[in-house]
Symmetry: C2
């Protein structure tokens, strides 16, 4: 057990607690998803494609708040694993229509279960009402930030 240090004013800073909570939730997520070998970032992409079949790489990138150049390697990884297919867009020859393969759909479905389980670990110190409060407040914050 690590000794307790006085963290001083950090204890009153939202930024600090957000960062620590995010690191914890990221680690829980990675542990829970071990069997699928899907990272948090990849899971976001799978979810978006599952919910919006045929969307473009640029649209995925915008929706997740990253650059489209960053998305290339992510899609490459998912494509190489056979989870995502780049199909030609029927309406725009510049863009790829992203879809999940059958295996991609299976991995995504299983991943969603595991992601929910990891959420329960992350919030295990909170009762149901508190967990709902927390996600509601975060959602409100993020919506206002255009996220």
């Amino acid at each position: 057990m690590p000794e307790k240090t006085n963290i001083g004013p950090l204890n009153d800073l939202m930024t600090y607690h957000l960062r620590r909570a995010q690191v914890t939730s990221f680690n829980n997520f990675t542990d829970a998803m071990a069997e699928t070998q899907v990272t948090p970032g990849q899971f976001g992409v799978l979810t978006l494609i599952a919910s919006n079949e045929g969307m473009s790489q640029s649209a995925v990138a915008r929706s997740l708040g990253v650059e489209r150049s960053t998305m290339v390697a992510v899609i490459d990884g998912l494509e190489n694993r056979g989870l995502v297919l780049r199909k030609p867009s029927p309406t725009d020859r510049r863009s790829n229509a992203l879809v999940l393969s059958d295996e991609g759909k299976e991995v995504y479905a299983r991943g969603l279960e595991l992601a929910k389980k990891s959420d329960r670990v992350t919030t295990s110190a909170l009762n149901d009402e508190e967990a709902v409060q927390l996600v509601t407040l975060l959602r409100k914050m993020n919506s206002a930030a255009g996220v």
Copy 2:
């Protein structure tokens, strides 16, 4: 304004909202701290040293949840800027007693103001009661995770 995409089940995942909120708060922090050129990670270190004069690098690392090897470059940076001093520990010849220089104290004091201001930007969509609720819930989560 980016087009609205259906984010599907991501909208119910704590992990997702934590990550987005953390990225937003990180960006707000970096913007607010521009005049000091202090990063979030550096600010955490400055705060810890200010609140626990003479603490060791390993203790700082443990308290922030990173490896002590990671801390070396962080302290190097702060030392090179003249904000932090590595003094010999009076009780353990292996370890450095970290203290803030006079300039370090000034930069930290100014940084704390700016960090609080950035917190207010980050939570600007929430009223005072909601902001307190949010930080309280995060603190509870983190305490339970040993953070």
